[in-house]
Amino acid sequence: MRRHRPVVSLLAGALAVAVALALPPATGARSAVAAQAARTARTTRADLDAARRRAAVLESELALAATRKPYLVLDLGGRALRYRLMGMTMREVPIHDLAVEGLETSEGTPGAPLLAGIFTLQEKENDPRLKPLSPEQVEDGADDENAANALPPEPPREYRLSFKQPIAVEVLGRETRSGVDGMWGRFVGALRRWHGPAGGDEARLKIALHLDPDVASEIYRSLIPELRLLVLPPDGMTLPAAGQEAPPKPRPAKKPPAPVEKPSEPKDVPFAIPPPEDEQNRKAAEENGETTEPPPAEAPPVPAPEPPPPPPPGGGTQAPGPGRAAAGSRGGTAGSHGSGGGHGLSGRLSRPT
């Protein structure tokens, strides 16, 4: 043992250096400075930086919330992924681990897009919408009353997300079991971190998120093209200039529901189709000499018309809503996300959509 003492000492010293390098930088110093600032109770440059960050986040959030569409907030410092809609946090997911490449040190007065960057999802890996049902699958589904039921898509646990901007996000659903059971998962996770986040050379910001496997699948299901992602760098860091979008223009509120029209009876229908329930109630009230009910309290007050939706990604021909299909229509475009899979309902036949 005595013969190996120099070697052991050398190794121990080198290991200590490596561990020191791996530790988070100067956390003690940061807290000491903050404590000193608090004691003096004066506004510091750190406070100004924090205020700039908060203003940038709120500017972006307000613009995204006003679109009335859901968006994701990826808080790299807080290690959380939040689903937000109109300022409400619909869901918050903790990030077990993450690897980021491309962040820069905060210097000078960084612009708002570097403190809160908005990116637009272009495609998720193996998106089922990109693989239409094949004739064979249609044939297989012919025996079933509902082919979609026969072929439920299985969402992946690990996938990559590509954006319109040069950034790459990889989601890795990994078990986070403790003890010996989780050793393999932790080892694989460490190797993935060592390898770095996925993404080509053109990606200026690469992020790998380690989530619970089930959560990763759920997130996958809820992701659709054109979804906005707001990335918040940790304190003291900024995002690289990666083509962040300017905050989107607010979307006008949707029209409040119009008074229900009496649906016309389609030809060849062997029975009468009942009108909507509220129509029945209103008629009954009018017959009894009661006044018509005012609009419901929760009805949205702004009747501004909705702008036409953008063309769907991919440029594929979109079919009209099923109600129109039933009425024999052929053309038209679907919703903003290339949808058009709704159901035709008897009462909607005479209604334009």
Binding site: L10, L11, A14, L15, A18, P25, V33, A34, Q36, A37, R42, R45, R52, L62, R68, L85, G87, R91, E107, R129, L130, K131, P132, L133, V138, A142, D144, N146, A147, A148, P152, W194, E218, I219, R221, P234, G236, K254, P257, D268, P270, I273, P296, E298, P312, A319, G323, A325, A326, R330, A334, G335, H337, S339, G341, H343, L345, R348, L349, T353
Partner: protein, 213 residues
């Protein structure tokens, strides 16, 4: 130092170097240190301006949150529908939402994506005993010919006891396929089980907001 010890030292050095590279690579750039220096007059002015602006922005953001006493929240990722009454979740029901699959009609060059739309919607109509008029895709996806007569498209029991119209042909309705509740299997509508459908139908009114994410 013998030759063996020299080799040991060299091997140890290689291991340590690998460790350093392993950890250092993922530290990334160090964040800028906290600057505890007090602000000058210009900085103070900017800080006050920012504080005022953030208050305004936060207030405007809060104003966007729903004020309705009753609204629905649909989580397409977990396939859950929540009924919120006066800020409290009074129902958390299993539902089914869009599969995200696409279907192509090569003959007429049409394409459908069976996705539940996201965003803010409102209940636009309520239909008891709805009759579904099966659209073209319902026949195409099972390899059947598209019928010419409307009567051949009618499916009186398919949508369950009630349907609530969200606009653009999307509905919240019942289902015959109860096994599939909790799965993303629909053509864009939101399916509910019988009991949950009954409860939701009698709680919402025309104009009730629905938030889908």
């Amino acid at each position: 130092m013998t030759r063996r010890e020299t080799w040991l030292v060299a091997a140890g050095a290689v291991v340590v170097l690998a460790l350093v590279v392993f950890f250092a690579r993922h530290r990334g750039p160090a964040p800028a240190p906290v600057d505890g220096r007090p602000l000058d007059a210009a900085g103070e002015k900017e800080f006050k301006s920012l504080a005022s602006r953030t208050d305004t922005l936060a207030h405007r953001l809060d104003a966007l949150a729903p004020k309705a006493p009753v609204y629905l929240v649909i989580d397409t990722g977990r396939n859950r529908l929540s009924l919120i009454e006066n800020g409290t979740e009074t129902l958390n029901a299993v539902c089914s939402t869009g599969s995200g699959r696409a279907l192509v009609d090569p003959e007429r060059k049409r394409r459908w994506v069976f996705e539940t739309p996201r965003g803010e919607f409102f209940i636009r109509a309520k239909h008891p005993d709805p009759v579904w008029i099966k659209p073209d895709w319902a026949f195409l996806e099972v390899g059947e010919a598209i019928p010419r007569k409307l009567a051949e498209r009618l499916a009186p029991t398919e949508l369950g006891a009630y349907a609530m119209d969200l606009g653009d042909g999307y509905l919240i309705h019942g289902t015959l396929y109860k096994r599939a509740l909790g799965l993303s299997v629909t053509h864009g509508c939101v399916r509910l089980g019988d009991d949950d459908l009954d409860r939701v139908y009698h709680k919402v009114r025309i104009g009730t907001p629905v938030y889908i994410y």
